[in-house]
């Protein structure tokens, strides 16, 4: 459930950005001359990770970025968005139900011990077990025996381990799903599926605080010292010598710098005090395009932004015509052009264009039609005043205000944009019944499959455990998604997913507003910076200029 916390492209709060930037340049200028170029780390911007650095408890982009450098996933994705084996030697199945995963030899943990199949079983069982309250637990819901370890709130697990995971030997394990799932291999690139060393578990059977601060991985980089969340502003990493995969050519040190403001980071990048900025603020786009040349990158990004509808909390939005009218009253094209300076594109499907399965113009109610919207809204008796909640830490204010203006002007209703400090605040307020308005919602994929835009956000099973925050539930939709999951080949699966998508387009449980684009930049000190499908940097390719 990777909810995009900050818009990739939009600004965070930039208090005193200029002053901070000025301080920054002084400090690191001094560091450069003292350290010499070989030891200067490659520096990348991140936001503060939400949790300690435990892959099984990390479901947001910032922590995942760090963990992506420390761990090596089972699969990565090629140019055609297809999964290819990375830490796995082979991943095979005959019926999409029983999957045999063979590991590549040569992988060792950063403490020198070899990585075995048991380390994967340990991690996955730990994540799934309800008592451990890991945020990634729902990823394992398809594995046979998940119900025993995660029976749901209020019930006690009857087993500690899922019966669907069998360790065959040191290099091989077998995963049995409760039902065939054609996209299982695609899922395995995600953070939640990283292995976990034996040393991570403390005497009480839980992951230790020390591991969360300094996770021992099996990836390209190891963390130099424990990360104290909230106090440390940098995370320093060094290339792990015994990493069997490809390593960066001419550098060994990596540094993540924690920023609270996208603008401050942008100022640092311009001054060469930061090397990689993966979320340029909208306000920087025109300057960045003009001044950075080939150091400016603009690619389709698989994330979608919606206006969420609290169907389970507020009966006023029950009538589908109300939701349709709201959707038709939003001028997506102008918003993407003006507020985002063209760094997003108007949404016209629930599936993003970066992923196979997208159909252009599929969402007919996403076309701007103010006259029809007003007629529909009045006929359906939509509420006279609407609240529009958003998290104030991600730079969403401007587009939410623009949507509010659209609704006010086109539907003739009162709209109050309501800022919440964090996205979680909206969910808490919804749960506590203190708030029952619409809310801003974003979704960045966990694995590149059309299915990822459906089940986690709209599936009945994702209410409470997944990211189905609106509480939408439709039996027909659930069945179609299940059919797609059970298909034996990808093309057939996609057909069912698209049929499920059709139901969403008809019912609009959320209102898609725009598709993200990945707009990022690098400093003049590095080159060959590329984002992968999960929006993480391909570190081995990065070179110092």
């Amino acid at each position: 459930m990777r909810v995009t916390k900050g818009a990739r492209i939009v600004a965070g709060a930039a208090l005193l950005a200029v002053a901070v930037a000025a301080c920054g340049s002084g400090a690191s200028g001094g560091g450069d001359s003292a350290g010499g170029s070989a030891d200067t780390p490659v520096r990348m911007r991140i936001g503060e990770p939400q949790e300690l650095l435990n892959p099984q408890n990390t479901t947001e982009t910032e922590g995942a970025e760090v963990l992506g450098a420390i761990f090596d996933p089972l699969v990565s994705y090629d140019e055609n968005k297809q999964p290819v084996e990375e830490a796995a030697e082979s991943i095979t199945t005959e019926d999409s139900k029983v999957w045999t995963i063979k590991l590549k030899s040569g992988y060792t943990w950063h403490d020198g011990t070899p990585v075995t199949a048991a380390d994967y079983a340990r991690a996955w069982n730990y994540a799934a077990l309800q008592d451990n309250a890991m945020s990634s637990s729902y990823f394992f819901g398809r594995i046979d025996g998940y119900e025993d370890v995660h029976p749901g709130e209020g019930k006690t697990p009857t087993a500690k381990e899922m019966k669907g995971i069998k360790v065959v030997d040191d290099q091989t394990f077998e995963v049995t799903l409760s039902a065939p799932f054609s996209q299982f291999k695609t899922m395995l690139g995600y953070t939640a599926f990283y292995p976990m060393p034996e040393s991570a578990i403390g005497p009480d059977g839980k992951v230790t605080q020390a591991y969360g601060e300094k996770p021992i991985g099996q990836g390209l980089f190891k963390l130099d010292k424990p990360y104290k969340k909230g106090t440390d502003t940098t995370l320093d990493l060094t290339v792990y010598d015994k990493f069997p995969g490809e390593k960066p050519k001419n550098w060994t040190k990596l540094q993540f710098k924690v920023y609270t403001s996208s603008e401050t980071a942008w100022n640092d990048l311009q001054a060469d005090n930061l090397d990689i900025h993966d979320q340029l603020p909208a306000t920087a786009i025109s300057t960045a395009k003009a001044t950075l040349g080939d150091r400016y990158h603009d690619e389709p990004d698989a994330a979608v932004a919606y206006i969420g509808v609290p169907l389970a909390y507020n009966k006023e939005f029950d009538n589908v015509d109300v939701r349709k009218a709201i959707s038709m009253a939003i001028d997506r094209k102008t918003i993407t052009e003006t507020v985002f300076s063209g760094t997003t594109s108007p949404a016209d499907d629930f599936i993003n264009p970066a992923i196979p399965g997208y159909r252009q113009g599929a969402c007919t109610a996403c076309a701007y039609n103010p006259a029809e919207a007003k007629k529909l809204y009045e006929a359906a008796g939509g509420p006279k005043s609407i609240e529009l909640g958003y998290n104030a830490d991600g730079g969403h204010k401007e587009w939410i205000e623009a949507v509010a203006n659209n609704l006010r002007a086109n539907l003739g209703i009162e709209v109050s944009p309501t800022p919440f400090e964090k996205f979680q605040g909206i969910l808490d307020a919804l749960d506590a019944k203190e708030y029952k308005g619409l809310f801003r919602m974003g979704w960045s994929i966990d694995y590149p499959s059309a299915e990822n835009y459906l089940t986690p956000i709209f599936g009945t099973g994702s209410i409470g455990t997944g990211s189905n925050y609106g509480g939408y539930s439709n039996k027909e939709f659930d069945e179609l998604v299940a059919k797609g999951d059970q298909a034996l080949d990808a093309a057939e699966g996609l057909k069912y997913y698209q049929q499920a998508d059709d139901i969403l387009l008809k019912e609009l449980p959320y209102i898609p507003v725009y598709f993200y684009r990945a707009v990022y930049a690098n400093s003049s000190k590095v080159k060959n910076v590329k984002l992968n499908l999960l929006k993480q940097i391909e570190w081995a390719d990065v070179e110092k200029a």
């Binding site: 603020p281 102008t334 052009e337 003006t338 203006n405 006010r408 002007a409 800022p419």
Partner: protein, 325 residues
Amino acid sequence: MSNPTPPVGPGLPETQTMVSDTVTAPAPERQGRHAKKSGKPASLWTDAWYDLRRRPTFIISMIIIVVLLVMSIWPSLFTSIDPFNARSCDLATARQGPSAGHVFGRDNLGCDLYARTVYGARNSIVIGVLTTVLTTVIGGLLGIIAGYRSGIVDTVASRITEIFFAIPSILGALLIAATFRGQYNSILLVIIALSVLGWPMVYRIMRAAVITAKSQDFVVAAKALGAGSGRIMFRHLLPNSLASVIVVGTINLGNFIAAEAALSFLGVGVQSPDISWGLMIADARNRFLEAPLPLVIPAVFLSITVLAFIMLGDAVRDALDPKLR
């Protein structure tokens, strides 16, 4: 106000004459300087008014303030565009420069900048005036009681005031506004947040003025004639201590308007869809380099307003202070 709290011992005899060095020593017995025409002794107020009318700073600041007041009461006199009507905004024209019908151009959401700025005056003025009234009432009342009673009442009140004084006002207001945000009307919340920490200043001025005034002969005389505490406080001490409080109040009004803008800028003050200059500045700051006007215009209005009130306060102080004449 070089010495706002002259040391007064609890047991000080009331007949002792105090040497006053506060700026506002009232001169009820004095022959007014400009009173020759009528032949009667002019009061401090007549005197001050005569003086004020000749001061260009007073005239200029009053003109600005009157315009602002009219603007906040009838904004529609200044612009035909209603910024609360979303139809007046057109996102496609966002950040356009000045054009016919839109003298300052459009803001980031394509709304008319001039109309928004004009309508923004109301919240600034309302918050400034109400906060000033509230702080003056609280601070003034406590000050007059503490100054007149002295002794334990004064000690307790002064210590409490010092506690409030010790809290950095913008930080305290930020805390209050952020804690109760969403539970109350945002404008009311700003007024309360600013008032809670704004009154000690008025208290000190009032207390000092009352201590000075109460040792004057006419107070002693009133007491000798058997006037009660209430009568002495409100009929004799209050009118003679009011001058300095008015000066502080006027200057504070400007400061409160600036503080409101600061709170709104930080996101805890006035909330959208209400309009406030601080909010407008906050919304425009990210795109300042691209489109400077949406930030500059409300900032200029804010500066002029604050300046006008501070200038007025200065002029009134000069007029009321006989020593500065």
